[in-house]
């Protein structure tokens, strides 16, 4: 044959992710996409739109909200739901709401109640049997062994010894009533792949990934952004305007910024390539419970 084409790494990754998204839609009864509004979610959503075009993706978006996300995230979330033509479900854990659980006073309990418990409640409420998540294997050591289809018991537990072998591109999506699958279509993407893909495909992302002058305070070696007036300032503490951006986005009081002047995507990628710290470094969540922090969280039902 005349011109045999070898796919580029991004083309292969894209094709694999689309294949996974379609398998789940074909085999699951009620899938949902967990949408956290970060850059990984942005790419996952874009892939879903590609997978099912010209149909809109045949499942809703679910945002398990903590009420503590950055304002810019809420804006992009609503815009993307509208552009994609998908239903947006926002879930708040009522108990966390009633008890006023917040990242300033409650530390790990905040993540546990709003996110881990909130997610389980939302999945139970709607009866979703498959949930897409934007986790990547390169993020963290215990994720490197995670399957693409990750099976959860009826109580959402994860048993690393009971996961199914995944051969070729054959995924076994069968499960008993009450059990569910978390599916990670971008498992094999790295942080750099994500950025390159966003760049090549003009995938919309939250402006906080780009540097700007923003009000910040420094705490425990982390630069935090004062995103709204719920941020309790210590005596004598005043926000300082700094040129910052974020490498990952979560709850604003838990997400550390980096000082930066990268205002365009190529500049952000440039910085990523030249940087010397890993992207989860800005996240308080991994530091709980020593090296096994994430693994423990996963067994409890965190993504």
């Amino acid at each position: 044959m005349a011109d045999v084409k070898t796919l580029t790494h991004l083309e292969r990754l894209e094709a694999e992710s689309i294949h996974i998204l379609r398998e789940v839609v074909a085999e699951a009864e009620k899938p949902v996409m967990l949408y956290s509004v970060g850059k990984d979610s942005a790419v996952m959503l874009h892939l879903a739109r590609k997978a099912f075009y010209p149909s809109p993706p045949p499942f809703p978006l679910l945002h398990v909200d903590t009420t503590w996300k950055f304002q810019e995230m809420y804006k992009l979330r609503d815009r993307m739901a509208q552009e994609s033509g998908m239903e947006l479900l926002v879930y708040h854990n009522q108990e966390a709401m009633d008890r006023g659980i917040n990242p300033f006073d409650h530390g790990a309990l905040h993540t546990d109640m709003w996110k881990t418990e909130g997610l389980k409640q939302a999945l139970n409420l709607h009866g979703f049997d498959a949930a897409f998540g934007g986790a990547r294997r390169d993020e963290e050591k215990s994720r490197a062994k995670e399957r693409i289809f990750s099976f959860r018991t009826a109580s959402h537990g994860w048993d690393p010894k009971k996961q199914r072998p995944e051969l070729w591109n054959l995924y076994n999506a069968r499960k008993h009533k009450g059990e569910s699958i978390r599916v990670f279509p971008i498992s094999n993407w790295t942080e750099l792949d994500i950025w390159q893909y966003i760049h090549l495909n003009n995938v919309p992302i939250v402006p906080l990934y780009f540097a700007d002058i923003r009000p910040t305070v420094e705490r425990d070696g982390m630069l935090l952004m004062v995103d709204d007036d719920r941020f309790p300032l210590m005596p004598g503490e005043t926000p300082v305007m700094r040129s910052i951006r974020f490498r990952t986005l979560g709850c604003y009081p838990l997400t550390g910024a980096v000082e930066s002047t990268a205002k365009t995507l190529p500049e952000v990628i440039q910085e990523t390539l030249l940087t010397t710290t890993s992207e989860r470094q800005g996240r308080a969540i991994d530091k709980d419970a020593g090296g096994a922090g994430m693994e423990k969280k996963k067994q409890e039902g965190y993504f």
Partner: protein, 633 residues
């Protein structure tokens, strides 16, 4: 001591746009590393990550701290700690699952499947190898070729990996001695030829010291190259070869947003496709022409193997999930009986005759596997006789499916030749398999259409055929009640036949014992006989312990809808044992009778039987009356 591969090259800082342009065209290689526990596999992978700058400062600090605490390399950095993941494994100091790692160079992105070396983990290695373009077989230079080396090479070859790197590691510990290296390569070449590996690339390396990893080492002046990374960057990837084959795409999903659009979505397995191409849909064989290749970024003029696309046809041809779209002039085969290599991956052994789900491409069918022709000893490659396959066993067996399957031999097409078996009850993936060829039987044995139909047979007898399937513990009263039921039906002028467990074992099934595998075959044969009898219009009554849910369901599937009536004769084990009409429980308890249901072999009670008889509540006569009333209201 070595230069990082992923040099923070000047281009990143100077001209990021140009850099990104260059990197848009990177390709991807997936490979596996196989080695024994102490061959330095994790160290090699850690080294690749480290040299390619995939390790950041915060991770490096943690690594340095960990190395001092739990490392095995004294004060030096223990790269293995970078990749040994889950908590339990970390404590044991070994990798026990497949983990995927990522790094990139200027030319390629790499995905490494880190697979363990112990014998009991054949399953993990096969899993990791199934998506790999290349295998790196690690050998400890001090030890030479070990049993594990042979096993890993055999498995890599079995799963179809054609690019094999023989990495003779720990060369630093043998003084970089060329004679040691040459000796190992010679031994390996002889072995490789014997199992059909025609080519491999040997290289002397040290993962710990970094020799011949990113560049040629001054310590091995006698070695001309290539260095490991250079080889990984330039070797051909599988997808390139797949593009040259005839077009095949398994349909995953039919895209139908409105009445004006109907597209067929899937990932192209082999070949390429363009608008105007003539295609054939299998298994139906209907033909049409491609009109469009639809994507979010506009229609494509061509799509090739590996791409996920949506195709539109010129005609309204029936096509749905599980079908295969193929080049019209060279379609793949369709069959329902095959020979295959099977790798068993579950703790519970394979049961010949039991029905499993078989998933191949996007087709899911019911399949039964026959007793293996042989099992392969993965250490010696000897073929051994086998009745079944246990965890991590590899064997060759015939299998048959309940529907026609579109397939190609695995050697030609991984997507249409590789399959998994799924347990119908637990839903676990229990095996992986590779189809060799279809059996000629399947091509030449056809259903003979007969003029006197089953309806006609039933009409002559003026009755509706049925199977009353009695199940329950030994001594529950199945045979007694079944006998009473048949007598009542006979009095009502019904044409019946009673198949009794003990009686059948005197004739048709006298070659079968009481192992799980034989119990499955016993029920399969009885099911087939019962089916023929219902075709003849009879009401069949069967009295077998039939302890496994899967086989009862299998028989249910054989029958016409509504004809299978499961009757659970429900007695507690204590009652059955107290009764012990035939004295069997006593023998079983004394250890004189093996595999006795309820004692040392399980009984899986029906979850939702059509009829349940609680023997504590009614006499045998009452039970028979109730069953007949249910059958003939």
């Amino acid at each position: 001591m070595t230069d990082p591969i992923y040099k923070t090259d000047a281009l990143i800082a100077d001209d990021i746009d140009q850099y990104l342009k260059v990197h848009e065209h990177k390709t991807m290689l997936r490979f596996i590393t196989c080695g024994s526990v102490d061959d330095g596999k994790s160290t090699l992978i850690g080294r690749l990550l480290y040299d390619s700058k995939m390790i950041f400062e915060d991770q490096l600090e943690a690594l340095q701290a960990d190395s001092k605490k739990v490392g095995t390399q004294g004060q030096e950095i223990d790269f293995a700690l970078l990749v040994d993941g889950l908590a339990a494994e970390r404590e044991q100091g070994i990798t026990i699952d497949v983990a995927y790692r990522f790094f990139a160079t200027e030319k390629r992105k790499f995905i490494v499947a880190d697979t363990p070396g112990h014998e009991q983990y054949t399953r993990n290695m096969v899993t990791g190898a199934s998506t790999a373009d290349l295998a790196v077989i690690l050998i400890d230079a001090r030890k030479g070729i070990l049993t594990q080396t042979r096993r890993h090479s055999y498995l890599a070859h079995l799963i179809g990996i054609r690019n094999i790197v023989l990495a003779v590691n720990k060369m630093d510990l043998v003084g970089y001695d060329q004679a040691v290296f040459d000796g190992i390569v010679k031994d390996y070449a002889a072995f490789a030829r014997s199992i059909g590996i025609t080519a491999f690339t040997p290289m002397p390396i040290s993962g710990f010291k970094g020799d011949n990893i990113t560049g040629l080492s001054p310590n091995t002046p006698w070695y001309r190259g290539p260095a490991l990374i250079e080889h990984l960057e330039t070797v051909d990837v599988n997808s390139a070869a797949d593009a040259d084959k005839p077009f095949r795409m398994a349909v995953q999903w039919v895209n139908r947003p409105n009445l004006d659009f109907r597209g067929f979505s899937g990932q192209i397995a082999t070949g390429s496709v363009r608008p105007g191409d003539a295609i054939r849909v299998l298994p139906s064989g209907k033909t049409s022409t491609i009109t469009r290749i639809v994507t979010l970024n506009g229609d494509l003029e061509e799509a090739v193997a590996g791409q996920s696309v949506t195709l539109c046809f010129a005609d309204e041809v029936d096509c749905s999930r599980g079908d295969v779209i193929a080049a019209s002039d060279s379609p793949p085969q369709v069959a329902d009986q095959f020979e295959a290599t099977i790798v068993w991956m579950a703790d519970e052994e394979m049961l010949p005759g039991r029905s499993y789900w078989l998933k191949i491409g996007t087709q899911t069918v019911t399949a039964t596997v026959q007793q293996p022709k042989y099992q392969v000893n993965v250490n010696t490659m000897e073929q051994l006789a086998a009745k079944t396959l246990e965890l991590n066993a590899i064997g060759v067996a015939n299998l048959s499916t309940d529907r026609q399957v579109v397939f190609e031999p695995y050697a030609d097409n991984r997507t249409l030749g590789g399959f998994i078996l799924i347990d119908k009850i637990t839903n676990a993936t229990v095996a992986a398999g590779m189809l060799h060829f279809s059996l000629r039987r399947a091509q030449n044995v056809h259903w003979q259409a007969t003029d006197v139909s089953r309806d006609f047979h039933a009409g002559l007898k003026n009755q509706k055929p049925a199977v009353l399937w009695f199940t329950g513990l030994s001594g529950a009263g199945k045979s007694t009640i079944a006998n009473l039921v048949e007598k009542r039906l006979a009095r009502m002028n019904r044409h019946t036949f009673l198949l009794d467990g003990d009686n059948v074992r005197h004739g048709l099934n006298k070659d079968l014992g009481f192992t799980d595998a034989d119990r499955v075959e016993n029920i399969r044969r009885v099911g087939e006989v019962a089916k023929l009898m219902t075709d003849a219009g009879l009401i069949v009554i069967t009295a077998f312990i039939s302890p496994f849910r899967a086989e009862r369901d299998m028989v249910r599937q054989m029958m016409q809808p509504g004809e299978f009536i499961e009757v659970h004769i429900d007695t507690s084990l204590a009652d059955a044992e107290a009764r012990d009409v035939k004295g069997l429980y006593k023998k079983a308890r004394a250890g004189q009778l093996k595999n006795f249901t309820g004692i040392d072999s399980p009984y899986e009670a029906p979850e939702d039987p059509e009829i349940r008889i609680d023997t504590a509540d009614m006499t045998a006569e009452e039970a028979a009356e109730a069953i007949v009333a249910r059958l003939i209201p």
